[in-house]
C-alpha cells in the first residue's frame, strides 16, 4: 500500500505499526501523550494505546533514559523522545555510561532495546539549543547504534527497524524535513516483513554520478541532491549514509573509488564531526583512488549562532558546490 506522507507522518505511522505489532513497545518522553509531542510525531498514540504505553514523563531527561533502561531490563522496548537536540545532555550519563555499556558489562546476559529519538539540526529559525547536531557524541560512544533518516520512506521503515533492534539505537530525525512529502510504500512493495526492507545499517546511493561523491545524512541529503541537480559542470553521486554508527563503508568506498573525490556534508561542527572519521577512513582505504583530499562542508566550530545567522552557519547548496569545486580543483 502506497500513500503520500510527510516525514513526520511516516514516523508516526511507523511508530503506530510497531506499537500494534508488539505490546512491549512503549513511547515515552516529555509531552508525547495527549499533545502528541511538540512536533506531533506521537500524535494519536496516546489515544489509541493509552497512558500505560505512551508515557508523559516528568521533565527530566536523565530520568527518561534511566527509567527506559529499567523498563528494557523488564522486557519492554521503550522508544524515548528527547524533545530537542540540545536537551539530550542531561541524559548523557545514563546514555553513555549505562545504556551503551550495560550489555558488555553483563557479559551479554542482558539486552537493551531502547530507541532514543532526537529531532535534530537547524534551519527552522529557532532559539538556542533547538538546532544542534550532536551526533558525534553518540557515534563516538561504543555500544550505541546511530542512524538518521532523510526521507519519508526511510523514516517509516527505519524507525521500525530501530525498535526491532536488540541494541540501543539513537534515531536522529531531521526536524526541518518533517513536513516534506513523498510516497511511502507501507506494505506490499517490501512486504510487511522488516527484514525484507533495506537494513537500517546500509548506506544508499540516492543519485548516481561520476565526478564527485557527496556523502550526507539526515537533513543534508536533500541539500546534496539539490546541489547535484544544480551543478551543471560536474556529475555528482550522492550517498545517503543512513547509518552513522556503524557506517556502511563498503557502499561509500565503492562510490569514492569510482569518482575519486569525496565531499562530506553535515550541519555539525567541523572538528570531530562525522566528516572527520569518514575522511580518515576513506583516505586509509581509498588512498590511491583519491584525486583530492576529502572535502568537508560543515557547520563552524562555534556554538550554534542565533537564528538570523544560521543560513551562514549551515551548509547550503552554494557551500556544497564550493566543496565540490574544491575537490575538483585540488
Amino acid at each position: 500500500m502506497a500513500s503520500t506522507l510527510t516525514l513526520g507522518k511516516a514516523l508516526n505511522a511507523g511508530l503506530h505499526r510497531a506499537m500494534s505489532a508488539d505490546p512491549k513497545v512503549l513511547v515515552m518522553g516529555e509531552d508525547v501523550g495527549q499533545l502528541g509531542g511538540v512536533f506531533r510525531i506521537t500524535d494519536g498514540l496516546h489515544a489509541e494505546f493509552g497512558a500505560q504505553r505512551v508515557i508523559d514523563t516528568p521533565l527530566a531527561e536523565s530520568g527518561i533514559i534511566g527509567t527506559a533502561i529499567g523498563l528494557a531490563l523488564r522486557g519492554y522496548r521503550p522508544v524515548c523522545e528527547i524533545q530537542f537536540d540540545g536537551f539530550f545532555f542531561p541524559s548523557a550519563n545514563q546514555t553513555f555510561t549505562q545504556l551503551a555499556k550495560m550489555r558488555q558489562r553483563s557479559g551479554g546476559t542482558v539486552k537493551l532495546p531502547v530507541v532514543i529519538r532526537i529531532p535534530y539540526g537547524g534551519g527552522i529559525g529557532a532559539v538556542e539549543h533547538h538546532s544542534e547536531s550532536p551526533e558525534t557524541y553518540f557515534a563516538h560512544t561504543a555500544g550505541l547504534r546511530v542512524v538518521s533518516c532523510a526521507n519519508p520512506e526511510d523514516a517509516y521503515w527505519m524507525i521500525q527497524q530501530a525498535i526491532a533492534c536488540d541494541d540501543p539505537v539513537v534515531f536522529f530525525e531531521p526536524k526541518r524535513r518533517y513536513y516534506e512529502k513523498a510516497t511511502v510504500d507501507t506494505e506490499s512493495g517490501h512486504g510487511s516483513d522488516l527484514s525484507t526492507v533495506t537494513p537500517m545499517g546500509d548506506a544508499q546511493v540516492v543519485r548516481s554520478g561520476t565526478d564527485v561523491t557527496v556523502a550526507a545524512y539526515g537533513p543534508m541529503v536533500k541539500t546534496a541532491l539539490q546541489a547535484a541537480e544544480a551543478d551543471e559542470e560536474h556529475s555528482l553521486e550522492v550517498v545517503d549514509l543512513r547509518s552513522l554508527s556503524p557506517i556502511d563503508y563498503d557502499t561509500l568506498f565503492a562510490s569514492v573509488r569510482r569518482t575519486g573525490r569525496l565531499v562530506v556534508v553535515h550541519e555539525a561542527p567541523l572538528t570531530l564531526g562525522m566528516g572527520a572519521e569518514i575522511a580518515a577512513q576513506v583516505t586509509q582505504h581509498c588512498f590511491y583512488h583519491l584525486e583530492a583530499p576529502v572535502q568537508r562542508v560543515t557547520g563552524f566550530d562555534t556554538p550554534y549562532p542565533p537564528s538570523r545567522l544560521e543560513e551562514h552557519y549551515l551548509p547550503d547548496l552554494d557551500r556544497v558546490l564550493d566543496g565540490v569545486d574544491r575537490a575538483v580543483a585540488f
Partner: protein, 398 residues
C-alpha cells in the same frame, strides 16, 4: 520603608484567613494524581481585592509604591502582548508569554536590592523589566539576532536560560561566591533563581537544593508553579505541593498566591533578607497559572479545557490590585488611564524598536565563542570571509 506617608492609604486591614502554610498530609497511596486538597498559601490581597495583613509577612507600602506596582504589572503585560503580536507578524521567531504570572514576577523582583543577582528562566520578562533591562533587549533572542541580549552584571540579571533547571545551580554557585566575598549581612547580597513547576523534576534543580543547603548559601529559589509544563499538568511532576520539597533538603519552603503581587513582594522580601543575613536558602512556590500558550508555537486546546483557563482568568492579578487601589482611593481614573496610555506608548515603541534591531554581521558567528585568541577559529573565520567574498559582484551568477 518610605518617608512621606502622610497622604498614604496604609495597608492596615486585618487579615482574614490564616496565611501560614500548613501541610496537606502526604498521600500514602494513589496513582500520582494531584492532592485532593490544596494547601493553604500566603495571601495578602484576596481575589476580590481586599487586603489582609499577614503576621509573618508584614508589608508597609505607601501609595506611591502601590501605584508603581500596578504600573509595573500593566506595562509588563503590555510588553508581553506586544511581543506575542510581533511573533504573529513574523518579527519574532518565538515568544514565551508571561500572561497571568505578572504578579509573581513583579512582586518578587521588586523585593530585590540593586546588589542582588537574578538567574531567570526564559519567561521572566516581568523580572527583567523590574531590573531595568530595555524591553528591546529582551526581544533579541526571540528574534534571533543574539542568544542573549544584555550585560548580566549591568542589570544584576543573568541571561535567560533555556535548558530547564540549569540556572538553579548557577544561582547557587553565585551565592557561594557572595559568601566568599563576605557580602553577608543586613546590606549583603542575595541571589534569586526563577524556574517553573516542570523544572523541579530536573536533577540540576535538586542538586541546587543540595548545594544551597549544605553551603547555607544566600539563594532564594522562586518556583512559579503555573501548573503546566507545556502540555503536562503539575501531577506529572509531583504528587505533593512543590514547596514541601524544601524541607527534605533542610530549608524552609512556602507557598504563596502567585497572583497576589503583595504576597509575592512580602514573602520574597523576607526570604531575600534571611538569605542576605546568613540564614540560608528558601523555596517559594508561587501558585499561579499560565493563561496563555506555552509559547507562540503551542496550542493549549490540545491538552486542557478552556474552562480551566476561564476560571483562572477570573483571578487576574492585575484586576485584583486595581480593585484594591480604586476602592482604597489610592488610584483614580486619571492614574489608571495614564498607565494605560503609557502602556500603549511602550507597546508602540517596542514594535518600532523590534523592527529596528539589526541583523548581526555574518562574521559575528565567530565573534564571542572565546575570550582569548583561538588560532583554529581565526583560520576558519578567514576562510569564511574569503568564501563570502567569492560571491561579491557575482550575485546571481550561480
Amino acid at each position: 520603608m518610605s518617608s512621606n506617608q502622610s497622604r498614604d492609604a496604609r495597608t492596615t486591614t486585618r487579615r482574614r484567613a490564616s496565611g501560614t502554610r500548613s501541610r496537606t498530609s502526604t498521600r500514602q497511596s494513589g496513582t500520582g494524581a494531584a492532592p485532593e486538597e490544596q494547601p493553604e498559601l500566603v495571601q495578602l490581597l484576596s481575589e476580590n481585592g481586599e487586603f489582609h495583613e499577614h503576621p509573618e509577612y508584614p508589608l508597609d507600602l505607601d501609595s506611591e509604591q502601590l501605584r508603581a506596582l500596578y504600573r509595573d504589572l500593566v506595562l509588563v503585560r503590555r510588553i508581553d502582548s506586544e511581543a506575542v503580536l510581533l511573533q504573529r507578524t513574523g518579527e519574532l521567531g518565538l515568544w514565551a508569554s508571561l500572561l497571568g504570572q505578572e504578579a509573581a514576577q513583579v512582586g518578587s523582583a521588586r523585593a530585590l536590592h540593586s546588589q542582588d543577582m537574578v538567574f531567570p528562566s526564559y519567561r521572566e520578562h516581568g523580572v527583567a523589566w523590574c531590573r531595568g533591562v530595555e524591553p528591546r533587549q529582551l526581544l533579541e533572542m526571540w528574534r534571533g539576532v543574539s542568544n542573549g541580549g544584555w550585560d548580566p552584571a549591568k542589570y544584576g540579571l543573568h541571561l535567560y536560560t533555556i535548558v530547564i533547571g540549569s540556572q538553579a545551580l548557577h544561582a547557587t554557585g553565585y551565592a557561594m561566591g557572595v559568601q566568599r566575598d563576605g557580602a553577608i549581612g543586613p546590606d549583603g547580597s542575595a541571589v534569586i533563581a526563577y524556574f517553573g513547576d516542570g523544572a523541579t523534576s530536573q536533577g540540576d534543580t535538586n542538586e541546587a537544593f543540595v548545594y544551597a543547603a549544605v553551603n547555607n548559601a544566600p539563594v532564594v529559589f522562586f518556583c512559579q508553579n503555573n501548573q503546566w509544563a507545556i502540555s503536562e499538568p503539575m501531577e506529572r511532576q509531583s504528587r505533593v505541593p512543590l514547596y514541601q520539597r524544601a524541607a527534605g533538603f533542610g530549608f524552609p519552603g512556602v507557598r504563596i498566591d502567585g497572583n497576589d503581587v503583595l504576597a509575592s513582594l512580602a514573602v520574597t522580601r523576607r526570604a531575600l533578607q534571611e538569605a542576605r543575613e546568613g540564614n540560608g536558602p528558601r523555596l517559594i512556590e508561587a501558585f499561579t497559572y499560565r493563561l496563555g500558550a506555552h509559547t507562540t508555537n503551542d496550542d493549549p486546546k490540545r491538552y486542557r479545557p478552556s474552562e480551566e483557563e476561564e476560571k483562572w482568568r477570573q483571578r487576574d492579578p492585575i484586576a485584583r490590585l486595581r480593585t484594591y487601589l480604586t476602592q482604597a482611593g489610592i488610584a483614580d481614573e486619571a492614574f489608571l488611564t495614564g498607565v494605560d496610555t503609557e502602556a500603549e506608548e511602550l507597546g508602540e515603541r517596542l514594535r518600532a524598536d523590534c523592527r529596528g534591531l539589526p541583523d548581526p554581521e555574518p562574521t559575528q558567528i565567530f565573534a564571542e565563542a572565546y575570550a582569548e585568541p583561538h588560532r583554529h577559529l581565526e583560520r576558519q573565520r578567514a576562510e569564511f570571509v574569503d568564501y563570502l567574498a567569492s560571491f561579491e559582484g557575482a550575485e546571481g551568477e550561480r
